[in-house]
Point group: C2
């Protein structure tokens, strides 16, 4: 269906243009921007809740933009930590695009921002194609989803800088092969970094928080978050 | 972007036309067709493995069509049970459409078929919009995904006849509220049926296998699977 492909390509091209502007604007303000992508229910909102909870002990100025097909639930959950949390309700669209993020950022209270988290719509497929002006895509793979995901959804693993192996506390109750998951993620993206996390048990979110801290420091020094 | 909306509407209309033909062809052959939809990693392939394993103790003639973005892994897993399993590799598309299923069915060995399982691409969003000529959509919600999914992804829960509450053995290790999940699913779809399953522990797949048996019997009697 060539019409459909053409429309899609022009949509992606226009998206890339807006994302480029967003990236420049965020760089000008020294704001680190992370775009979190995962399946529905992998744990993005819970990770962000834990992250914001930790950041309120620091001087870091954070904000979240969260995408959802229908409800305002995630922003409600995230607002409790005292940082701005904006909901984008996509009304059926299965991913965020750069223009949605751009419009949403206009609603942020004025003032500097050290870090902007974008919580994408729960979907491992379509969000991979949409640049949102982020410094890094972070793919969250939760253990109960299975270790085959990096090869089944290579697009997002190829484009992510970091994979969070989340709900790692469920390893004993599942058939998840951690080594295979990491090896497969590195097969599609040799440079992907891996951090293990859990919101309910050890090891908690410590390694992820340190990863963010390092990226924030890099951004302040160079304007660009360097690789670990 | 009105062009985009128009293209999408004409795509869906053409899909519905082909799905209607498929539905008629399957009804003519008395084949029950179930379209399984879930997030990536909710457990569709494992459920189908357990189902085919059980069906080979019976006289039921089954086949599976399984959709995937990139790999042939699922069909490989499913072929071990002695039933035909056809892989549709969508090459980036985030859902199956009726024309993909129609083309795929031409590759099935000739002869009657009592049940055709369609395993959709792992995605709670886009597959909801595509009729594949099935008798029923079955949405698989796995416990570790969280109980908020019926309200966050209402489209698929509204269109499903059955919700499998899967990986129910993980209830003690998660914060999943089973009553809330069922109540919310019924809020978007008062007629949805609910069956609890696990591939690794009790209660196993028994209730799901009985649900299929009942649908097969209904289909044989009336040409249409009645509600429970």
């Amino acid at each position: 269906m060539p019409e459909r492909v053409e429309v899609r390509q022009s949509v992606l091209k226009e998206n890339d243009r807006i994302a480029g502007e967003l990236r420049q604007a965020l760089a000008g303000r020294q704001t680190l921007c992370l775009n979190l992508v995962s399946s529905p229910g992998a744990g993005k909102t819970s990770i962000l809740e834990g992250t914001l909870d930790a950041l309120r002990q620091t001087s870091v100025r954070a904000a979240v933009v969260t995408g959802d097909i229908q409800t305002e639930r995630d922003a409600d959950r995230l607002r409790r930590y005292g940082f701005p949390a904006l909901q984008i309700t996509t009304g059926g669209t299965c991913h965020l695009d750069a223009s949605m993020v751009e419009r949403s950022l206009k609603e942020l209270p004025p003032g500097g921002l050290d870090i902007l988290f974008i919580e994408n719509v729960g979907n491992l497929v379509c969000p991979a194609s949409y640049d949102l002006g982020e410094d890094a895509k972070v793919v969250v793979l939760s253990v109960p989803e299975g270790d085959d995901k990096p090869l089944k959804y290579p697009g997002i693993f190829r484009r992510a800088r970091l994979m969070l192996l989340h709900k790692i506390d469920l390893l004993p109750y599942t058939r998840f092969n951690r080594d295979a998951a990491i090896a497969d993620a590195r097969r599609v993206n040799p440079e992907i970094e891996v951090v293990e996390t859990s919101c309910l048990a050890e090891p908690g979110l410590g390694a992820w928080l340190r990863w963010i801290e390092k990226r924030l420091a890099d951004k302040r020094q160079t304007g660009r978050p360097a690789r670990a």
